[in-house]
């Protein structure tokens, strides 16, 4: 069972809809007991980085960290990916999960922000999440903050400089774009995640 964590920010329905389309056994929840039993965890998200404080209030931080330590595949989407890092300039007082070192920054002046629309990926070889998705594939973004290029970057994207479009290390995966809104490319990525061994 895949736990899709509902932290009351934005619309979780489209992620559930995409997983249903792939015939994945997905449950939308903020119940720590359900998350503790999940084989895989997806943290979707749009909205503000500070919305993630609910994860602490609901006692979810600890259970998510424990499940990741136990090897359960975890996918953070959009703000969910940003939360995998230490912090964000969007909400300086709100700690991230700290799985990866680094912080999210705002786009430079001189470009429209948010970065909205379809942009192309440059993929690193060997990514399990991006299996079958070649460089040049288009995915849908909508965000004002981004993660720089780091050691765990699995795909980059260009908008006023390069940023991390996807990150990956062991059982930890994150995407800045919205796979549930990225047509066939996004569905392929979600299928890759669903197919990972638990």
């Amino acid at each position: 069972m895949i736990a899709v964590i509902d932290y009351r920010a934005g619309n979780i329905a489209s992620m559930k809809k995409a997983l249903d389309h792939l015939h994945a056994d997905a449950v939308v929840t903020r119940d720590a007991n359900v998350v503790a039993r999940a084989d895989k965890i997806i943290l979707p998200g749009v909205g503000h980085f500070s919305a993630t404080v609910i994860l602490d209030q609901e006692g979810l931080r600890g259970v998510i960290l424990r499940r990741i330590e136990n090897g359960v595949p975890f996918l953070g989407v959009c703000v969910g990916m940003q939360w995998m890092f230490e912090s964000s300039a969007e909400a300086p007082g709100t700690p991230g999960l700290g799985l990866f070192s680094g912080a999210c920054g705002r786009f430079a002046q001189g470009v429209k922000s948010p970065h909205v629309g379809w942009n192309s990926l440059t993929c690193r070889d060997g990514s399990r999440l991006l299996r079958g998705i070649p460089s040049g594939s288009f995915v849908y973004f909508t965000h004002s903050y981004s993660v720089p290029i780091v050691k765990v970057t699995a795909a980059s994207c260009e908008y006023s400089g390069e940023f991390s479009a996807a990150v990956e290390q062991d059982n930890m995966f994150g995407v800045q774009f919205h796979p549930e809104k990225s047509g066939d490319v996004g569905l392929r990525l979600l299928a890759n995640f669903c197919d990972l061994p638990c």
Partner: protein
């Protein structure tokens, strides 16, 4: 590189897609869910469903239409038309919309923009502005109520206020060009796009390939919306995207 979006717009009345010319003369164009999927398969980067139902009875079918349409659609999906309150917005979000488009209600009560943005994020709030030239000059007035009522507001100033209040995108329709296929009003999109830091979607007047090239190049639009050219087979979406690509406009193609 960030691509220019081609957005398919479905005007819906009582659960059916219709198309009018300059806000009048409605013709039946098909089932919203089927047409939305067909457009997505053909390469539409996004789908907008605008409910133009005049009566409350017809509006009651909207949530069902949105639900059916969203079910198999895996590109961004915006719903607008007649959304007057946060409660109205909640209904369409819960039915599966990714964004709502608000128009008259935002002008009547601009705090609605902020209230929806606080709950769903700015990326989920599109403010639609129907604009008309004043005496043919490069000045534009915002209209409401489906283009029937002048507001006295400068369209660009209103767009800037909408951005400040938390709008994530502006859907800017030229009433002078709507449904004519005579080309977008590139002056309108340009003055708005350069004044704003959020994306501007050009609407009204899309016709041949050159009209799209112009609105991206001269009009500085971030996206362009079109309806009748796709519904009636006057223009195939793939052909349009291929032509735009040949003309050097970055588009998502092949999808």
């Amino acid at each position: 590189m960030l691509t220019k979006r081609i957005i398919a717009c479905l005007d819906v009345n009582a659960g059916r897609v219709v198309k009018g010319v300059q806000f009048e003369q409605l013709r039946d164009a098909g089932d919203p869910a089927e047409l939305a999927c067909a457009h997505s398969r053909a390469g539409a980067d996004e789908v907008v469903l605008l409910d133009i139902s005049a009566t409350r009875e017809n509006r009651a079918t909207l949530a069902d239409t949105v639900r059916r349409t969203a079910q198999q659609l895996f590109v961004p999906f915006t719903v607008g038309g007649g959304i007057r309150s946060l409660a109205d917005a909640v209904v369409v979000f819960e039915a599966g919309a990714d964004k709502v488009s608000i128009n008259s209600a935002a002008l009547a009560d601009p705090s609605l923009i902020t209230r929806i943005a606080e709950r769903y994020g700015s990326q989920a709030v599109v403010v639609a502005i129907d604009a008309k030239r004043i005496n043919g000059e490069c000045q534009f007035e915002a209209y409401v109520s489906g283009g029937r009522k002048a507001t006295g507001r400068d369209a660009v100033a209103w767009a800037q206020e909408a951005e400040d209040r938390g709008a994530g995108e502006i859907l800017l329709t030229s009433m002078d060009r709507d449904g004519t296929g005579a080309g977008f009003d590139c002056d309108l999109t340009r003055v708005c796009s350069v004044a704003l830091n959020i994306p501007v979607i050009a609407s009204g007047g899309g016709g041949d390939t050159q009209s799209f090239v112009d609105v991206f190049r001269k009009g500085h639009a971030d996206a362009a919306l079109a309806a009748s050219i796709f519904h009636f087979g006057l223009h195939q979406l793939g052909d349009l995207k291929r032509s735009l690509q040949s003309a050097g406009i970055p588009v998502r193609w092949p999808c």
